[in-house]
């Protein structure tokens, strides 16, 4: 089966798309035409620049609309999310841990390298959580250690060994010049060098992290925008249960 879809403005298949961007050209009729041509070259029909403004002597800003013929077949799409459609709530997660593992789950998390942005790891781990989703510290069956910001990868591993952790969570928010990739790769390499990779379930999170990227980098799972503690808890429980009884429920 195929289900072909295009962007929807006000009529099915009109292909309407909204764009905004800056061009390094002075504001004026030439800039405006450059913007329109650019939208056309992206493949849009009816390219229309609806707003233009000068940003400085050499830069100008545009808002444009266009219509596209490009379409995707949603039935051929395979989504790689770390967690499936079924999510445990906090209480369900704790019940599942009691029932399937029979002991507390130990989780160590940190914002590693030079990254000082704890907002991501705090959202997942802190008692309060984020957006009315409690963090792992609130889970009665989880022992959560949030090591905070700018934690060197070595220290994170040492700590995980010390508290006999089941899982390591790494948050990376700063992604300029791909610094997060280097940092995430280093953690996996260090774990492998010390023969510890299989001992932990290792997850990466951050606004620019996807499950696909994390798996490519050697992680068990990755979590991006819109992740709450429930997503991470569900994933961890499934993996840990799988470790105890591979292939089982």
């Amino acid at each position: 089966m195929t289900t072909i879809v295009r962007p929807y403005g006000d009529t099915l298949d009109d292909g309407a798309v909204q764009l905004s961007f800056t061009l390094p050209v002075p504001f004026g009729p030439r800039g405006r035409e450059a913007a329109r041509l650019f939208v056309e070259k992206l493949g849009f029909r009816h390219a229309e620049v609806v707003h233009a403004a000068p940003l400085s002597g050499d830069f100008s800003f545009y808002v444009a609309y266009g219509r596209t013929e490009v379409a995707v077949d949603v039935d051929t799409i395979h989504v790689e999310e770390a967690t499936g459609e079924k999510l445990y709530s906090m209480n369900e997660a704790c019940a599942a841990i009691r029932e399937k593992l029979g002991r507390k789950v130990v989780v160590v998390g940190a914002c590693t390298g030079f990254d000082a942005h704890t907002v991501g790891i705090d959202a997942i781990m802190n008692m309060k959580g984020y957006n009315h989703h409690y963090g792992l510290e609130r889970y009665s069956e989880v022992e959560a250690f949030n090591l905070g910001a700018q934690v060197p990868n070595e220290k994170l591993i040492d700590y995980a060994v010390k508290v006999n952790a089941d899982a390591i969570l790494v948050s990376q928010i700063v992604t300029q010049k791909d610094v997060h990739i280097r940092n995430l790769t280093e953690l996996i390499e260090l774990l492998e060098a010390r023969g510890l990779r299989e001992r932990f379930v290792v997850c990466a999170g951050g606004t620019r992290i996807s499950n696909k990227l994390a798996v490519e980098l050697g992680y068990d799972g990755g979590f991006g925008q819109g992740t709450y503690a429930e997503h991470v808890a569900t994933f961890l429980i499934d993996r840990l249960v799988d470790k105890v009884a591979p292939g089982g429920a």
Partner: protein, 517 residues
Amino acid sequence: MESRLHMPQERIDRARELASRIVAPVQEFIDAHTTVTVERATLRLAGADGADADGIPVPNLVIDQLSGRLDEGALKFWVNALVRTGEDVAGLNRKVAEGLRVDALPLADPAALEAKAAELVAACTRRVRGNRSLREERLARYAGKNHSPLLYVIVATGNIHEDVKQARAAAEQGADVVAVIRTTAQSLLDYVPYGATTEGFGGTYATQENFRIMRAALDEVVEREGRYVYLTNYASGLCMPEIAAMGALERLDMMLNDSMYGILFRDINMYRTFVDQKFSRMINAWAGVIINTGEDNYLTTSDAVEKAYTVLASQFLNERFAFAAGLEPWQMGLGHAFEMDPTIRNGFLMELSQALMAREIFPEAPLKYMPPTKFMTGDIFRGVVQNSLFNFVSQMTGQGIHLLGMLTEAIHTPFMQDRFLALENAKYVMNNMADLGAEVEFRMDGTIVKRAHAVLEETVAFLERIETTGLMDAIAEGLFADIRRPRDLGKGLDGLRKKSDGYWNPFEEHLHRELGL
């Protein structure tokens, strides 16, 4: 301004009295100690600059030579080297970079050292006073051209030359304040890199040359646009006083500078931070710099509704530490933030209450108001609305320094257009409702007034607890932001020294005299 929140003055006085008693014992500790970066800042004020072939800055080379004798003050050895070698400052910088040991030279007659130091202090004073009067002259010439509140934007490309383009564009669009955010982790370097830099992560290295490049670029815009543009950097982390010294020399106008931020949020040792913040603030006070304190950080870590009192308590403490370092009220950009969960019913009323309360309790301070960040999502369209509400509160409550919220806050460092859209938003809101604040009175029994009174009461209770515990133990026990920082842990403790009886620092003495401390 009469109180629209009917704040009880006697409770505000009580909070100030508590803050004063909390800070006093810490001041005693501070005055008995120095640190490696206080000594390096002193050397920088005296003219020490440059780096050796490995990039180690001259002030660090000098300090490393003296490690055992740092408690006497580093300047003695530096001044002695000038006297003994007969070199001028530039010549000595070169020689130290080439390997000269200033600790190996026999000490000259104290009178000769005093005389040479007096020359260096005078030269530095001429430069800093010159910067200060130039700023004052430009502000007077272009009086009334800046926005109120001052519109503050950040540039953060990592490359100083790219920063210049972004900063110029923002200034031309109406920004009053440009902050060059520092590269991730510079706060944890125990040195300040040398020269212009083009590589950084999430920001650009603070170096004296980068300061000079950005100052020159903004000064061009100042003349062209007929409006002063304030340049801002970060006198925070392990090199607070050195950055303040560089800023004084290169005419920076504002410095992020908090008395406890480094301890809590960067795990820098508390003794080290307390000593460093004092010297950095004396330099800022002397240079006419407006400091921006970091209370917004309490709210990105904890809940903005429940922990509002920690912000007010920190403002009182920052104010007290600032007074003790000679800063005037007009130099105290006390921080706070619009960080409540946007889904809370009547959350806006609480934001308005908090902002107006800060305004009324610190009437002369140019309050630094920070935009929503924690609850910004990838929904840029909602982000614009959140920023508009933030702009509304800021204008209505008469904030002093307004850091513009970016619609792409949770996504990437700002594109040029993001800053433009933020400026347009602020200019629209603030012009369109310019005098609304003066039109409105609040109900004595209403949510806004009651909320402000409740937060003040919680603040007084919190300060009472800190006073009983002692500030250092309160930090160790996790009373601030739920973060525990023991006295003897944290970065930079090895750079702390108890001053010896013979400690000699003519720059410090000069600052004390100038600031009436």
